[in-house]
């Protein structure tokens, strides 16, 4: 069974990712993660994350993947022992001192993509130390993955969706030079999204995002063990949507009932939820002009995410929803949920917190009630309906 591995920036997103179908999540604590500028998980959150995931028989991997300076090492042992105590399923690391210490503490280690591993011989180097899983560099192509699997039989984790570094991971310090923020210690300021002056038109180096829907089956066949979604800083809506789409695709392939039109539908949904174009990159051909942006930031956001379910009033048969974007009577939406098929919902009535009917839900995070005869579970989400599945 190929694992679906999702990112989570906090406990709420972790729950969403696991409930919507991820087999495992990767998260960062307040120390040593490469996303130093997000909320991340306190030690209590990390413990709760493990309890929540393990209750569902799912896994938690914790990123300890920054490149350490001497001063950063002071609390490393305590932190690794803490992670051991709360029974994280693995840590993700790239600095050899972290790898060695974690293995000494009998923690499982996943080699981070930050280690720039693109060949079987590098995999063998780390295997000899005791590393048992590898996040290969995003630059590996199909034949390289196949060969690495053949030569090493290592457990391989490959990115299937989300943002791409322009650089080979671990080989970029543009942020250090331009902002003094250390990209290899969690401070990356995404300089590859900047526009540079040049003797000629502006120079940009921004890559489009990754989307591997068309190659999931092939990746399963050549022995990829874990499909990794990028984006610990992404929203709950993004995580729910992306995880659900890939869960459906993977299950459809495994059950041999994934239809081509279904795949096309998921591709459209995935493209819509991202704020940049998503396409395959290095897997099947070398990326060229079409895989990059050349004129400023071409990012488009939408207001499709209308709200998240907070409960269900059984007596009055009302969905209790926290608003996330403007909607009004007459809008056609659809509910996505962890345990139900997506279904269309036309907004016929909106009731506010004073039990008064209103025409429009316009205030972020306002609580409203919507009539529906069947209970819809917590963490279900209402989104604007844009595409038909069939």
């Amino acid at each position: 069974m190929t694992e679906l591995l999702a990112p989570a920036g906090d406990l709420e997103r972790l729950k969403i990712a696991l409930l919507y179908g991820a087999d495992a999540v990767y998260i960062g604590g307040t120390l040593y993660s490469l996303r130093a500028n997000v909320k991340n998980f306190t030690n209590d959150d990390l413990s709760n994350a493990c309890l929540f995931a393990h209750n569902l028989s799912k896994k938690v991997y914790v990123t300890v993947n920054m490149v350490f300076h001497n001063n950063d090492l002071k609390k490393l042992d305590d932190y690794l022992l803490f992670l051991k105590k709360i029974q994280v399923d693995a840590i993700i690391a790239s600095d050899i001192v972290v790898v060695k210490k974690a293995l000494e503490y009998k923690l499982n280690v996943i080699l981070s993509t930050q280690a720039s591993t693109l060949n079987y011989s590098a995999v063998k180097f780390w295997q000899n130390l005791g590393v048992n899983r590898f996040v290969l560099g995003r630059e590996v192509n199909r034949e390289d993955i196949k060969r690495i699997k053949k030569e090493t039989n290592a457990s391989l984790e490959c990115f299937i969706h989300g943002a791409m570094c322009t650089s080979i991971s671990g080989k970029c310090v543009l942020s250090n030079y331009c902002t003094n923020r250390d990209s290899n210690r969690g401070g990356c300021a995404q300089i590859c999204r900047w526009v540079f002056n040049c003797d000629g038109p502006d120079f940009t180096l921004m890559s489009k995002d990754l989307n591997m829907v068309d190659f999931i089956e092939d990746m399963m066949n050549i022995g990829v063990d874990s499909f990794k979604i990028e984006g610990r800083m992404r929203s709950i809506y993004y995580i729910a949507t992306v995880v659900k789409c890939y869960r459906k695709i993977i299950d459809g392939i495994q059950n041999k009932n994934l239809q081509e039109e279904e795949k096309e539908y998921y591709k459209k949904v995935l493209n819509r939820v991202a704020n940049r174009d998503t396409i395959p990159q290095f897997y099947h051909k070398f990326p060229g002009v079409s895989e990059s942006y050349f004129q400023d930031r071409m990012e488009v956001s939408n207001q499709d995410f209308l709200g998240i379910i907070k409960g269900y009033d059984k007596e009055n048969k009302l969905i209790i929803l926290e608003q996330r974007n403007y909607f009004k009577i007459g809008d056609v939406g659809e509910f996505i949920s962890p345990n139900m098929e997506t279904f269309t919902y036309t907004i016929s009535k909106i009731i506010d917190e004073n039990n008064e009917e209103i025409e429009v839900a316009r205030h972020p995070q306002m609580i409203v009630k919507l009539p529906y005869d069947t209970e819809v579970c917590e963490y279900a989400m209402l989104r604007l309906k844009v595409f038909d599945k069939n």
Binding site: A115, S116, I148, E151, I168, N180, R181, F203, V289
Partner: protein, 260 residues
């Protein structure tokens, strides 16, 4: 001055005689098909006595296979190998040559360097740390390090053809290299068939580290002439430079604490 302990990358075989006059005796030859960001590369057969093979590419499987094959018939005059990709450790472990690991932006702490020294003879310490950190690590290792002291520092290495793509998109004549700039931050961009490199401008000058008692000092001479090197070593150069992060520690935002 410890020029005899300097390892310098060479741009032309003709440079060697001039470099010898500067007292520099150790030469690193960028190996053809195994380097990025370097216009002039060399075949193994072109390496003079006591030369180092220099490889800075991250290799795919084909690269590993080709290198393995090249190393099978390595001439006896090769003194050592300087490399980035950890996959090369396995290939060179039985060779009786000096092995120097240059992991570009890793090797920023003492403990990691100590571990790598179990596999190689020497490491080039990162330029991403301060002078104080460099001195601390070098002292603790009793001078087993190689210290990068001069040259353009590679700030980014992409597998993509960023100049070629840019030229094609804008329908411009292909021009390799480019200088790009944003809010006073400048980079020299150079690409070859193995990817695109961004060198930070201005030049990095850490020559004050020559007093560290390190094993070797490393000069990356790409885009520099021997005359430039001579003037820089003698302190008479007009080339703009800075000291990178030697005096400026990089920051990153750590929220909270393990005790939170």
């Amino acid at each position: 001055m410890k020029n005899k302990d300097i390892i310098i990358t060479i741009n032309s075989l003709n440079d060697i005689e001039k470099l010898e006059k500067l007292g520099i005796k150790k030469y690193a030859y960028p190996l053809k098909e195994f380097c990025v960001g370097i216009p002039n590369t060399f075949l193994i057969s072109e390496i003079k006595n006591d030369g180092y093979i220099y490889l800075n590419r991250i290799l795919d499987n084909d690269g590993i296979d080709k290198l393995r094959s090249l190393l099978k018939d390595l001439p006896l005059n090769i003194r050592g190998i300087i490399f980035d990709d950890l996959g090369i450790i396995e290939l060179v472990k039985d060779l009786k040559i000096e092995k120097i690991l240059y992991l570009s932006h890793f090797n920023t702490n003492l403990e990691s360097i100590k571990i790598y020294l179990n596999y190689v003879d020497n490491v080039i310490i990162s330029t991403d740390i301060t002078e104080e950190e460099t001195k601390y690590i070098n002292n603790a290792l009793n001078g087993k390090l190689t210290v990068f002291v001069l040259g353009y520092v590679m700030a980014m290495y992409s597998r993509r053809y960023l100049i070629d793509n840019y030229s094609k998109f804008h329908n411009l004549p292909y021009k390799n290299n480019l200088v790009i700039e944003n809010t006073n931050h400048k980079f020299l961009v150079y690409e070859n068939e193995f990817g695109t490199c961004f060198y930070h401008l201005p030049l990095y000058n850490g020559l004050k580290l020559l007093n560290l008692n390190a094993k070797n000092y490393f000069i990356n001479a790409v885009f520099l002439s021997v005359e430039d090197i001579k003037d820089l070593l003698e302190g008479t150069s007009n080339i703009e430079y800075d000291e990178g992060f030697l005096n400026t520690e990089t920051t990153f935002k750590l929220k909270g604490d393990i005790d939170d």
